[in-house]
Amino acid sequence: MLSFFSRPMFRLAAVAFVVLSIQMTLGADLKPFGVTADLMLLGATATGAAGGAQQGALAGFVFGLMFDLVLVTPFGISPLVYGLAGFLAGYVRTLMSDPTWWLAVIAVAIASALGSIGLAVVGAFVGLEGQIQPDLVRTALIVGAVNGVLAPLAMPVQRWCLGIRRVIV
């Protein structure tokens, strides 16, 4: 029984659940520069930056799936985009021969910003109106910046979740 609770997937789901609670309360309430922070996207990209592309994609899928269960937007958009964003963050990390913590932070920020744009694009693709707006880039930059600032906190948590050994110096 104890071994089940110590499994990475359980820990990942538990952390996603906690982050979702924070996103739905604090995240929905605090709007830095008028933009809702996306902590679930942070969870996905931080995992990618900390553990690699596959881990990022997996975490993004789990975080996105859980988020979509409480949203009213079409189901499946968030796991798709978060999974790709997590994958991207991990992929960027693998391109760095000697990744430092701040490069990982930049990877999180870039992947989060692109993930934010990806949400709008995929939303528009499935027929949601009003997704691509003039301030989309500004929104994406703010989401990226907020997630970049929070990345140093999120990466150790995600590393613990999936049992990732720290390789970033």
């Binding site: 309430d29 996306d38 592309a53 596959q54 499946g76 790709l84 109106e129 997704q131």
Partner: protein
């Protein structure tokens, strides 16, 4: 060589799974809805806990970031309050007089609906959807689809219900659609408004407006919570099609038509012929005004002007009763080859919702299918 292949395969699996989910959701199989509903029930207590834990952080944040705004707003509100105090006396007398006239003429007023007052306890969790969460649910009779209003008018509809809470999709959400009518502008006599020119009762407001065929329009007030047409409870003023009495002459403007001279006024009432445009309002997402797509592209459309009130159209299939105030026309967008569209400035400030009312309204088609 094995790593990129595995990575690619993982990516492909991710994309295909998500496309499958999106397809299932779009085809409305019910499985996704059931999963969402089940998860929401499990999640709600945890969310409540999280709200309690994070509230101090939230309060501290708002204290830091909004102090200047709150101070400025406080000054503006004091000014507004002083202005409203002057308006309310005139408006109250007008409401009373008008309701008496409506009762006399047996004209319908706003819907006398039961409602449940609720407080907004949660905001939009992500910017691509426009929803709020309220603290009343199915235990108080709230059901999916019911319209939600605040003092200023319609703000949205219930999309998800729990025993002690509900999710409200706001008018600005891109998936919100409702049948509406665009009525003619008129004003409440005796009130002070910086932007609207007011005209005393009895003077033909529509004299310069070709949509008014009669010469003595007045203004009606809509009270979504009214239980008694003759009550003088505080209301949110909005406009609907006004009745007019032929007996009132322009020079009667200084005389209260319902006062001592009321017996001298003929009770013949003329139904006004202010034409109304019908269409459907739909949200366009965060920061953008909702838009009304008009059903008819005819000459009347050109007569829609900025400031014309937009109200719900009602009907057997509609999720909202008729004559709920929604907003005012802010821009008319003419498009060649297609029906024109009208941009709406909402009455309600959806960014600052606190107390709202859920109208316990069920469409006639559901009551008598």
């Amino acid at each position: 060589m094995a790593a990129p292949f595995t990575r690619r395969r993982a990516l492909l699996l991710l994309v295909l799974t998500c496309v499958l989910f999106i397809t299932l959701d779009q085809r409305d199989t019910g499985a996704i809805g059931a999963a969402r509903s089940g998860f929401s029930y499990v999640f709600r207590p945890f969310k409540g806990m999280a709200r309690a834990v994070t509230r101090p952080v939230s309060n501290a944040w708002h204290g830091m970031t909004n102090y200047d705004d709150v101070e400025r707003e406080n000054l503006l509100l004091r000014d507004e309050l002083a202005r409203q105090a002057g308006n309310s006396a005139a408006a109250e007398a007008f409401v009373r007089a008008h309701n008496e006239l409506l009762t006399l003429a047996q004209l319908p007023t706003g819907p006398n609906l039961d409602h449940v007052t609720a407080q907004v306890i949660g905001g939009t969790p992500r910017d691509d959807q426009q929803t709020v969460e309220i603290n009343q649910g199915s235990r108080r009779g709230i059901r999916v689809g019911m319209p939600v209003v605040n003092g200023a008018g319609l703000i949205g509809k219930v999309t998800e219900v729990f025993p002690d809470g509900a999710v409200v999709r706001l008018i600005t959400d891109s998936q919100y659609v409702l049948a509406v009518r665009i009525s003619c502008r008129s004003t409440i006599p005796g009130t002070v408004d910086d932007t609207v020119i007011t005209t005393p009762t009895g003077i033909p407001v529509g004299g310069a407006d070709p949509r008014f065929a009669t010469t003595t329009p007045t203004t009606t007030l809509f009270d979504p919570f009214a239980t008694d047409p003759t009550s003088s409870s505080s209301t949110t003023p909005s406009t609907s099609v006004p009745p007019s009495t032929d007996a009132l002459q322009p020079d009667d403007s200084a005389v209260d038509p319902f006062g001592s001279d009321a017996s001298a006024v003929e009770t013949t009432t003329t139904i006004p012929v202010c034409e109304r445009e019908t269409g459907s309002i739909r949200g366009r997402g965060k920061g953008r005004s909702p838009i009304v797509g008009l059903l008819d592209d005819d000459v009347r459309t050109r007569e829609i002007v900025e400031g014309d009130p937009v109200i719900s159209a009602g009907g057997a299939e509609s999720l909202a009763p008729q004559d709920l105030p929604i907003g005012r026309v802010s821009r008319v967008i003419e498009r060649k080859g297609t029906s024109p569209e009208v941009e709406i400035e909402l009455n309600a400030d959806l960014g600052r919702l606190n107390f709202v009312s859920v109208l316990l309204y069920v469409p006639a088609s559901e009551v008598n299918p």
